[in-house]
């Protein structure tokens, strides 16, 4: 027992009494909560063991093809995931060129980690590099055609690579556009306000699928034939604009929460609109809306699976296509694939959510009522 625990508890009390008290206070404080506690325990006991049984204890862990996963009483077919690993991570990217994707992953991970860990120095320069040099590096490395790198058409990109590419682009591009739209919507200049309102309300009134579908199939009709954009670029633009409209409303919520006195005080000090906005209003507004901003990032991350509708093999679609591979089709293959997909999505989203909670406690100064996502 450590000193800390000794201080909190009166000496000499048996741990049984402590445990009993905790149970009485937290789980069985009234007969309704006692019933609910028992029901929850019963539900957990009936649900969890079969899942664990299927996913771990009776699962197949190695094998060459479906024969390994066939047979009575067998659970999840994990070697199927192993056999598809390359496709899950890289999509259909040419095997000999995958080192290019690896570089992108490594540089991206280091850059993001640098920006996310508060102790590390020169954040501004790393941030500028991540916003300018990194996208250029990604473009050159992934599509090739320069510096002697063979061209890999974007139809071959897929898996986690595509999911991360689309969601990160969406998040990074939508953030500044969203802020501008939010400011525009609160602007006193009627033309700007009306334009912003129209854009936001139009995009928010249309499902993402429709926007993707338009970007993929209808947009080429409006452009002259010489001017064609890659389908992936059109999808990226569509996702970014879609998420910008939502971001705008989130930021506007934050802006409205800032008392008028703040900008009036700034005006009294002689600050103009831009400086008031940039130094007084926006920092506070963004701090308030941080939980909602992260929420919309999380939902954007999950929404990227919709690009499969326009024929992209994102992470989820790679797994779905794997299910129809006759080499691996068994009664358990599809469910194994979906379980794995769920775990990966959960991992990313939970990570984002925890990071935002951490940010609220540090940047937001642990403000009460800021809430956790």
């Amino acid at each position: 027992m450590s000193d800390a625990t000794l201080q909190r508890e009166p000496p000499g009390r048996p741990w049984r009494a402590v445990a009993f008290e905790w149970l009485r206070d937290n789980l069985f404080s009234s007969w309704t909560s006692a019933v609910l506690t028992l029901l929850s325990i019963a539900a957990l006991v009936t649900i969890i063991p079969p899942i664990l049984d299927w996913a771990i204890f009776h699962a197949v862990w190695s094998g060459e093809d479906r024969a390994a996963c066939l047979g009575p009483g067998k659970g999840a077919c994990w070697p199927f995931i192993a056999s598809r690993w390359g496709q899950i991570v890289y999509g259909f990217y040419d095997a000999v060129e995958r080192w290019r994707v690896d570089i992108v992953y490594v540089v991206g991970a280091i850059g993001l980690a640098w920006l996310m860990i508060p102790r590390l120095p020169v954040k501004l320069w790393v941030g500028i590099a991540m916003l300018t040099a990194f996208p250029a590096l990604v473009y050159v490395l992934l599509s090739g055609g320069m510096f002697g790198l063979p061209i890999v058409p974007s139809t071959k990109w897929g898996g986690l690579l595509l999911t991360l590419l689309i969601s990160l682009t969406g998040i990074v591009v939508s953030f500044p556009i969203g802020i501008l739209l939010a400011l525009g919507r609160r602007s006193t200049l009627p033309v700007i306000r009306i334009l912003c309102v129209c854009f936001i309300e139009f995009v928010r009134g249309v499902p993402l699928i429709t926007i993707l579908f338009m970007a993929s199939n209808l947009l080429p009709l409006f452009f002259p034939p010489e001017l064609t954009f890659d389908k992936l670029i059109r999808a990226l633009v569509a996702v970014s604009l879609f998420s910008a409209a939502y971001m705008a409303e989130v930021v506007r919520g934050g802006l409205q929460a800032i008392p008028k006195g703040q900008s009036e005080a700034a005006a009294a000090l002689g600050l103009g609109y831009w400086r008031t906005t940039a130094f007084i209003v926006l920092p506070q507004a963004l701090k308030i809306s941080l939980p909602s901003i992260v929420s919309s990032c999380i939902s954007l991350f999950k929404d990227t699976s919709l690009v499969s509708i326009i024929g992209f093999f994102d992470f989820l679609q790679v797994i779905k296509a794997g299910n129809s591979d006759p080499v691996w089709s068994t009664p358990n293959t599809a469910f194994t694939g979906y379980l794995f997909a769920a775990l990966v999505y959960w991992g990313f989203c939970f990570g984002m959510s925890r990071y935002s909670a951490y940010l609220e406690n540090t940047v937001g100064g642990g403000k009460v009522g800021a809430g956790r996502t």
Partner: protein, 340 residues
């Protein structure tokens, strides 16, 4: 003298390019790109499916490979674009994302007439069928009276069952699921007596059952689902080319030309084979191709029978019988007009 020779050579080259020139803008575009763009499914066993290495295979894929072989003498000069059932037609017509849609698509009048595209023929005669357990003793659809049938919601399969059982005065109960895997799992666990979907899909579904050999696919089909490739309506010459690639595949099988014997047939062949292989006539040139176009197709991809057996037949995991997809000479429906 030298000048005259150059002139003659120039004239000759002009003539030869002119004869290889087609009046198909699509073919010109494909040649300029250096590859064919082919719209395939997002993963359907035996028709178009990416393997663990990311290579596409299947009947629909081989059809695109055959076109590429005829044009470039290289079956790998194809870029595949995956399409979903929802966007396949717009992706072909308005989106112009590919030159051929080769994606297990049922030919119907509405699709052919009003969507701005044309089907070139039937690569696979499919139809809705049933799979039942061996120990149920059912051997034909007529034995399914009173059965509980599992299927997917929101597809025509449900309506077809209603039509068929209604007209034959049989009782039945439908158990519809949102996802195909759920419907199949329900059948596998014994909640229904039969599972219904397209015949080819049943063979793929059988692999997902806990014991494939305990199940039998009933021979009858209750709907017509002819699957075929489609092209845009605006380029009749391209449509001809794609259609005759399909006919060439079928004719090659009928005339006994296979990837194995095509080389030996080049010397000794009967007149029909000689026309097919481009030894007589200018059939390839009339499509804007070379006269040995069928040789290229058969050597690199095989004839229709080889394509079938490799992807869905005995050479594959599906093991589908030729059945309706046998040649007309063997009691099936596959028939191609002659090359002459």
């Amino acid at each position: 003298m030298k000048f005259g020779f150059t002139l003659a050579a120039l004239a000759l080259s002009l003539v030869s390019t002119a004869s290889a020139q087609s009046n198909s803008p699509t073919l010109e575009e494909v040649r300029k790109n250096g590859y064919l763009r082919c719209g395939v499914s997002d993963g359907l066993t035996g028709f178009s499916n990416p393997d663990a290495q990311g290579n596409w295979s299947g009947i629909d894929v081989d059809f695109c490979r055959a076109i590429a072989a005829a044009i470039f003498d290289d079956p790998n000069a194809v870029r595949y674009t995956s399409t979903t059932a929802k966007e396949r037609f717009t992706a072909l017509t308005q989106g112009r994302q590919f030159e051929v849609l080769s994606r297990n698509t049922t030919i119907t009048m509405q699709r052919d007439v009003s969507l701005g595209m044309d089907f070139v023929g039937v690569t696979y005669y499919d139809g809705q069928g049933f799979i039942v357990k061996n120990d149920s003793g059912v051997t034909s659809v007529d034995g399914l009276g009173g059965a509980t049938i599992c299927t997917q919601t929101g597809t025509t399969t449900e309506l077809n069952v209603a039509d068929y059982f209604g007209t034959h005065g049989m009782q039945y109960q439908i158990l519809a699921f949102d996802k195909e895997s759920e419907a199949l799992a329900a059948y596998d666990s014994g909640r229904c007596d039969a599972y219904t979907t397209d015949h080819s899909g049943l063979y793929a579904a059988r692999l997902e059952l806990s014991n494939a050999d305990d199940n039998i696919i009933l021979p009858e089909i209750i709907s017509k689902e002819p699957l075929g490739p489609a092209v845009r309506q605006d380029d009749p010459a391209w449509e001809d080319l794609v259609r005759w690639v399909l006919y060439a595949l079928i004719n090659a099988e009928e005339l006994g030309v296979t990837s194995q014997n095509v080389d030996s047939l080049m010397s000794a062949a009967n007149p029909e084979q000689r026309r097919l292989l481009g030894l007589e006539g200018d059939f390839g040139k009339s499509l804007g191709l070379t006269n040995d176009w069928v040789v290229r197709i058969v050597k690199k991809v095989g004839n229709y029978g080889e394509v079938f057996e490799r992807n869905v037949g005995q050479g594959s995991a599906l093991k589908i019988d030729r059945g309706r997809n046998a040649l007309w000479t063997n009691g099936g429906l596959q028939y191609a007009p002659p090359i002459r």
